[in-house]
C-alpha cells in the first residue's frame, strides 16, 4: 500500500498543471452534447499535441503515441478535474469506435477514420439496439442483403444518441440469416448521409431528446465497409461494449455529487434549520458518503490491478451496477432533502441547480437500464464472477434467424 505517486509521476503532474495554467484561456466553456464546436475542436488538437488526449493512440493514426501508463492517465484526469478544465472529446467515436478499429480494423480503415474521429471532425453514432433486441442484442433483425458490391440494409435502430448530429454510424446488421443468431451478424461502418436513412428524435422521461430512432430503407453500403469479416459482428460488438462499460459507473462523478449535496445541506434550510442539522437527512448523507468512499477506493484498487496487468476478477464486474446505483441514490437524497423544492423542474421559480437533481435522477435510471441492464449485469456477475450456471437455453433461440427469413 503506497498512495504516493513518486518523483517521476509528481514531475508529470507538475507538467500537466503548468499546461493547464498556461492554457486556461483556450478551454471551451461549453461542451455541446452533439457536435463539437470549433472551440472544442481546437482544444482537442492542443490536448492531443501535448498528450492529454488520444494519449496512447499511435502517431501514424493521429494520436500522441505514448506507452500506456494508467497512472499518468489518472493524473491527467485528476488535474483536469481539480482545475475544473474540460478533458478531451469522449464521444462514442473516440471511446468506442477508435479502440475497436485499432484492435480489429484494416490498415485502410484505421488510416481513414481514426485521425479525423480523434480530432472531432467526424462524429459517430452507435447502431446496436433495436426495438425488439435490447438485452438480447444478438437477436437483432436489421437485414443487410448482398447485392453486387453492396449490402442493402433495411430495419430500425433505437437508443442512437447523437444520430441527428453524426456523420457516420457503426452498425450491427444481420448478413447471415441462416446461421445461429450470434454467427450471422456483421459490423458495418457507413455515412449517415447515405440515402434511405431517417433519424427521428426520441424524447425520454426527462423531457429531452437524448436519443434517436434510426430507420433504414434500402440503404446501400459498399461491402468493403465491414469491420472484421462477415459474421464476425458479435465478436466486434463485444470488444466495443467492453469499452462502453468502462465509461459507466465512474466513482469520481459520485464524489463530486456528494460534495454538491454536502454544500446544499449546509445552505438550504427547513423550518429555519439547516438541513445538515437534521439528523435524518444527515444519516442518509453519511450512509452514502461511506459508499462513495468505498467505490472511490475500489476504483484505486482496480487502477492498481490494471497497472500491474492483473485480473481483478469480480471486482471489475460490479462497477457498472454499483456505480450507477450509487449515483442514482445520491440524486434521490438531494431531491428528498429539498422536499417540495426538489420537484421543481424546467423554468420554475425557486428552481434549484437548474433542476439538475431531477434530471439526474431520471437520466440515471436510463443509465441503470442502458449499456446492459442491472439484471444483465447481475447475470454477468453471477456467471463470470461467481461461476454460477447459465439459464438453460431455449431450443428455439438458435432457430430465430431462420424464422425471420421466412
Amino acid at each position: 500500500m503506497d498512495l504516493a505517486y513518486g518523483p517521476e509521476y509528481e514531475a508529470f503532474r507538475q507538467e500537466v498543471r503548468d499546461f493547464l495554467a498556461a492554457n486556461s484561456d483556450k478551454a471551451p466553456r461549453r461542451f455541446g452534447v452533439s457536435r463539437p464546436s470549433d472551440e472544442v475542436v481546437a482544444w482537442q488538437r492542443l490536448l492531443i499535441e501535448h498528450g492529454y488526449a488520444a494519449r496512447t493512440i499511435p502517431k501514424q493514426y493521429g494520436g500522441y503515441g505514448a506507452e500506456p501508463d494508467i497512472l499518468k492517465s489518472r493524473i491527467i484526469a485528476e488535474e483536469f478535474a481539480n482545475a475544473r478544465m474540460p478533458m478531451g472529446i469522449a464521444n462514442q467515436g473516440v471511446s468506442m469506435l477508435v479502440p475497436t478499429l485499432l484492435e480489429l480494423g484494416t490498415e485502410e480503415q484505421k488510416k481513414k477514420w481514426i485521425e479525423p474521429t480523434l480530432k472531432g471532425e467526424v462524429v459517430w453514432c452507435q447502431g446496436y439496439s433495436e426495438p425488439g433486441s435490447g438485452s438480447d442484442l444478438a437477436s437483432l433483425q436489421t437485414k443487410a442483403v448482398e447485392d453486387g458490391d453492396d449490402f442493402v440494409i433495411n430495419g430500425q435502430k433505437i437508443w442512437t444518441s447523437t444520430a441527428h448530429a453524426a456523420d457516420m454510424i457503426f452498425c450491427l446488421v444481420r448478413t447471415e440469416p441462416d446461421k445461429p443468431k450470434h454467427e450471422g451478424i456483421s459490423y458495418l461502418i457507413f455515412s449517415m448521409k447515405t440515402p434511405g436513412i431517417e433519424v427521428r428524435p426520441l424524447v425520454t422521461m426527462t423531457g429531452h431528446a437524448e436519443f434517436n430512432e434510426v430507420f433504414f430503407t434500402d440503404v446501400r453500403v459498399p461491402k468493403k465497409d465491414i469491420v472484421a469479416g462477415r459474421g464476425q459482428g458479435w465478436f466486434v460488438a463485444n470488444a466495443t461494449l467492453k469499452h462502453e462499460r468502462g465509461m459507466l459507473g465512474d466513482p469520481n462523478q459520485a464524489g463530486s455529487r456528494l460534495k454538491e449535496i454536502v454544500e446544499l445541506m449546509h445552505r438550504e434550510t427547513l423550518d429555519g434549520e439547516r438541513l445538515i442539522d437534521n439528523p435524518l437527512y444527515r444519516d442518509r448523507l453519511l450512509q452514502l458518503q461511506a459508499r462513495v468512499y468505498a467505490m472511490q477506493f475500489h476504483g484505486l484498487r482496480l487502477l492498481t490491478a490494471s497497472a500491474k496487468k492483473e485480473d481483478p476478477g469480480i471486482a471489475r464486474l460490479i462497477v457498472k451496477l454499483q456505480g450507477c446505483e450509487l449515483n442514482h441514490q445520491l440524486a434521490a437524497l438531494a431531491i428528498d432533502a429539498l422536499g417540495e423544492l426538489g420537484v421543481l423542474y424546467g423554468e420554475s421559480p425557486h428552481l434549484r441547480a437548474q433542476g439538475a437533481w431531477q434530471h439526474r435522477y431520471m437520466f440515471d435510471l436510463g443509465l441503470i437500464i442502458g449499456g446492459g441492464t442491472a439484471q444483465i449485469q447481475k447475470n454477468i456477475i453471477s456467471e463470470r464472477g461467481l461461476g454460477m450456471p447459465r439459464e438453460p437455453k431455449l431450443a428455439k433461440d438458435n432457430a430465430e434467424p431462420k424464422l425471420a427469413k421466412a
Binding site: M1, L3, L286, A290, H298
Partner: protein, 364 residues
C-alpha cells in the same frame, strides 16, 4: 501509487487462512460454542505459533511490529473461519493501549507477554464506542475503580483487563483483583466471549505515560476496523457457501443456482460487499499513515460493513432455504458473528453520528 496488498501481506494472510482452515473447522467451532469455552485453546495455540498475537507489538518488545492493515487481514481470516479466539482486544486494542499510554516499565512488563501469547487481555472501553447503556461507567479515584463496564471484549480467560474510565483515563486491572465481579454475558455469537465487569473499590494501575484520551480513540478506531474486517471475512464465506449450495441443490429438475432469482441474490451480495474491502484497506492504511482521516475512515468502514454485512447474512441464509435456518448446517455461526460485529463498539447510527462530529457536521 499502489492501492493493494504486497506479496508479503498476501502470503501472511494466506498462511493464517490455511492454518484456520485446518484447526477451526465447523465441528471444532461448534464444540467450542456448545461447551461455552472462553476460547478454543488449540486454535489460539496455532495462531500463537504463527506469531499472530504479536502482530502490532513493536519488534523490540518481542512482536512483529506490523501495521493495522496487516491486523485487518488477520481479522478477516478469523471472521472467515468464525474462529473462537481472542484477537481484537488482546492482540489489537491492548497493545495499542500500552504503546500509546503505558510507561516504559509497563510496556516491558506486558507487551512481550501479549506478543508471545502468554497472557490474554480483555478490553473494557465499550461505553466510549457504543455509548453507555443502563448507566454503565467506571470512575477512578485514588487508584481505585468503581462502577460497571458492559460488553467487555475478549472477556473469558483474560489475565487482566484494560479499563477506560468516564474521564478518559486507562487502567490495568488484574482478573483476580479483589472487589472485581466478573459476569459472562451470553450473546447470539457463541464464538466470542463478552462479559461484564463490576468494580467495588478495585485496585487498578493507571496507564499514565501518554495521552490516555487519544489512546482510547486509537483503540476504538482500530477496534472498529477489525470488526469491519471480521464481517468482510465472515460475509464472503457466507456468499461462497450460498453459491456452492445453489450449484448443488436441485428443485424443479434444475440446480437452483441456474434460476435468475437465486443468481441475482448472489450477485447482489458480492456487489454490495466487495467495495467494502477497499474501504477497510484504506481505513487501516489511514490509521498508520494519514492520521487526519483515521477516525473518520474507521467509522465509515465499521458502519458500512455493518450494513452490507447484515444484507449478506440474511440473503445468504435465504439462498440456503430451510437448511439455512437449521442448526445442522451451522451457517448461523457466520450470521451471528456478523450480528455481533454490528453492535460492538457502536451500531451504525451511533458510528455515523461520530463521523458527523468528526467532520464538524454536528456538535459533539
Amino acid at each position: 501509487m499502489e492501492f493493494g496488498l504486497s506479496e508479503d501481506q498476501k502470503l501472511m494472510q494466506d498462511s493464517v487462512d490455511r492454518t484456520l482452515e485446518k484447526v477451526s473447522s465447523l465441528d471444532r467451532v461448534r464444540k467450542s460454542a456448545e461447551a461455552r469455552e472462553p476460547y478454543a485453546a488449540d486454535i489460539r495455540a496455532a495462531l500463537v505459533d504463527l506469531g499472530v498475537p504479536g502482530i502490532l507489538v513493536p519488534e523490540d518488545e518481542g512482536g512483529m511490529g506490523m501495521k493495522l492493515l496487516d491486523a485487518a487481514l488477520i481479522a478477516e481470516a478469523i471472521g472467515r473461519h468464525v474462529a473462537p479466539v481472542p484477537f481484537i482486544g488482546t492482540s489489537v486494542m491492548a497493545p495499542l493501549a500500552f504503546t500509546g499510554a503505558g510507561s516504559p516499565a509497563q510496556q516491558r512488563a506486558f507487551l512481550p507477554k501479549l506478543a508471545g501469547g502468554e497472557a490474554v487481555a480483555g478490553v473494557a472501553i465499550s461505553e466510549r464506542g457504543a455509548g453507555a447503556r443502563e448507566g454503565a461507567g467506571v470512575t477512578a479515584s485514588n487508584g481505585r475503580l468503581n462502577g460497571k463496564a458492559l460488553f467487555v471484549l475478549d472477556f473469558g480467560g483474560a489475565d487482566f483487563y484494560i479499563v477506560g474510565d468516564t474521564s478518559g483515563g486507562l487502567h490495568l486491572v488484574w482478573g483476580d483483583a479483589e472487589g472485581l465481579r466478573k459476569t459472562q454475558l451470553t450473546t447470539i455469537d457463541l464464538t466470542r466471549s463478552i462479559g461484564e465487569l463490576d468494580f467495588h473499590n478495585v485496585e487498578a494501575e493507571p496507564l499514565v505515560s501518554g495521552d490516555a484520551q487519544a489512546t482510547t480513540r486509537r483503540m476504538l478506531d482500530a477496534g472498529r476496523v477489525m470488526l469491519a474486517a471480521d464481517t468482510l471475512g465472515a460475509g464472503w464465506r457466507m456468499i461462497e457457501k450460498a453459491v456452492d449450495y445453489a450449484k448443488e441443490r436441485k428443485q424443479f429438475g434444475r440446480v437452483i443456482g441456474s434460476f435468475q432469482a437465486v443468481k441475482h441474490m448472489c450477485a447482489e451480495m458480492a456487489s454490495e460487499l466487495e467495495p467494502g474491502r477497499s474501504l477497510i484497506w484504506y481505513a487501516a492504511h489511514a490509521f498508520d499513515e494519514i492520521p487526519a482521516e483515521s477516525s473518520l475512515m474507521a467509522a465509515h468502514a465499521k458502519a458500512h460493513l455493518s450494513e452490507v454485512g447484515r444484507f449478506v447474512a440474511r440473503t445468504a441464509t435465504e439462498v440456503h432455504g430451510g437448511m439455512g435456518f437449521t442448526d445442522l448446517l451451522g451457517l448461523h455461526y457466520w450470521f451471528k458473528r456478523i450480528g455481533l460485529d454490528r453492535q460492538l463498539l457502536g451500531s451504525p447510527e451511533r458510528v455515523r453520528q461520530d463521523a458527523a462530529i468528526l467532520q464538524g457536521w454536528t456538535a459533539a
